[in-house]
């Protein structure tokens, strides 16, 4: 991936198994957000191939629409539409043709999950930063994506919101959702058994798994027969 003359991301290969929990760790400008955009099918790679479900991604509008229904990205500073909270959370559902009582049920459930019951009819743009982040998470949750991509979800939120979001992520991961989280922070100590992919200046520099005793094992130590999503040159 490149922006003008600058290469933002240059990795030989990266495979993500279905249902795994992955942290992309690196400093600002290391390529985390670029990789998330790629995994969300928002930008095609300048070179190489992106695979999903073992098949190369076709960057045609109809193919992309279906693929984007599988993977949802929550941005670091999420944009909320100039509508009510309900309309924001219902947007993706309406795009999938889910309307009426089913839509209301899913929106209510998503708002309840992030602790925003009673916020449905508030103006989204009048919310605090933490509330906005929760609405963005609810907007993604309502869609029940197979892959949830989170760009610095804890960067601009208070401690309470951070714990709510972390709980939601853990529940999602337990339900089999693939959760990929980009962060420049250290991984919290309680987050054991997750895969940690370290990026620096757009390059993959480490791929380990965290353990409760602080040890980290390399990617080669792990085995996983059901590898679903990945990027690499000309595979």
């Amino acid at each position: 991936m490149a922006y003008g003359q600058r290469t933002a991301l240059d990795i030989p290969a990266l495979e993500l198994e279905e249902g795994c929990r992955v942290y992309l760790v690196g400093a600002n400008g290391s390529g985390k957000s670029t990789l998330l955009s790629l995994l969300a099918f928002l930008h095609p790679p300048a070179d190489g191939t992106l695979f999903f479900n073992g098949r190369p991604v076709e960057w045609s509008p109809s193919s992309l629409l279906r693929l984007r229904w599988e993977a949802t990205l929550v941005h670091q500073s999420p944009y909320l539409f100039h509508e009510t909270v309900f309309s924001n959370v219902a947007f993706g559902l309406a795009a999938r043709g889910i309307e009426g009582s089913e839509q209301r049920r899913l929106v209510s459930k998503a708002l309840e999950t992030v602790g925003l019951e009673g916020f449905a009819h508030r103006k989204a743009r009048a919310l605090s930063g933490g509330e906005a982040q929760r609405v963005a998470m609810a907007r993604a949750l309502a869609l029940r994506p197979r892959v949830l991509l989170l760009d610095e979800p804890f960067a601009n939120v208070d401690r309470e919101t951070a714990w709510v979001l972390r709980d939601v992520i853990l529940v999602l991961a337990a339900c089999g959702t693939t959760v990929v989280t980009a962060t420049h922070d250290l991984i919290p100590p309680c987050e054991a058994g997750v895969r940690i992919v370290r990026l620096a200046e757009g390059r993959l520099c480490a791929d380990t798994t965290s353990s409760r005793n602080g040890r980290a094992e390399t990617a080669d130590d792990r085995t996983g027969p059901d590898r679903r999503q990945g990027a690499g040159p000309g595979r």
Binding site: A71, L73, H75, Y79, F81, G92, A95
Partner: protein, 228 residues
């Protein structure tokens, strides 16, 4: 000063009495301006959105041309349209010269570049997260663009209002293409020019006050939208 004050008082009397000539001129002005604004918006807004949302060769040139068209003098637009709809022109057989329709055509040419440029500016100034957000939530490209337009709706409304402001306040096109026919194509601006030259300063001042009120209302609406 006495002359100005007496004219001002007399103009207020003309406005208060709803002089038929004033009412006619105000009605014609608003009718042709609204008509021209509708058509110019239908042409200009989508053009601005298209240019703003697309990447194509010579895009910068197209934007420069759109910008330049905003600065074309109204009499030049009037002259250009006159050439087409005068009796010897290619569209002379339609008999459009000195009709309200001719003023609307000229007004569209004046206002469409404004609508296009303001819409283009609204798209370029839109939050860059809007389209990726809509797309990652599963919207098609078309649906995402509809969402984008909804998000910049105040900018689009400003484009429409600015176009109206341009048309309602111009005099060159209305004079050259409308002919200033009393009760038919006489607009506020052409009536002011004519009546003042005839020495009917109070009448011109009365129309000037109404025109100022309309322009003021338009600009208040524009600034309110831009603040939102």
């Amino acid at each position: 000063m006495g002359f100005l004050f007496e004219s001002f008082v007399a103009s207020l009397g003309l406005i208060a009495s709803a002089s038929p000539d004033i009412v006619d001129a105000v009605y014609t002005s608003l009718a042709v301006s609204i008509g021209a604004t509708v058509f110019s918006s239908v042409l200009g807004v989508p053009l601005g959105l298209l240019v703003g949302l697309s990447e194509f060769p010579l895009k910068r040139l197209v934007i420069t041309i759109l910008n330049s068209l905003m600065a074309v003098p109204t009499v030049v637009v009037g002259l250009f349209v006159y050439g087409f709809i005068s009796r010897q022109g290619p569209l002379g057989a339609l008999g459009l010269l000195f009709t309200p329709t001719a003023i609307v055509i000229g007004g569209v040419l004046l206002a469409a570049p404004i609508a296009a440029n303001f819409s283009l500016a609204a798209v370029r100034g839109a939050d860059p997260r809007i389209l990726p957000t809509a797309l990652t939530l599963g919207a098609s490209r078309a649906r995402a663009i509809v969402r984008l337009v909804a998000e910049i709706r105040f900018g689009i409304a400003a484009a429409v209002i600015a176009g109206f402001g341009r048309v309602v306040s111009e005099v060159g096109v209305a004079m050259m293409l409308g002919g200033n026919i009393r009760g038919y194509t006489r607009t506020m601006t052409t009536a002011i020019a004519l009546e003042t030259s005839k020495g009917e300063f109070a009448f011109g001042m009365a129309l000037g006050i109404v025109l100022l009120a309309v322009a003021f209302a338009v600009n208040v609406a524009l600034s309110m939208l831009q603040r939102r």
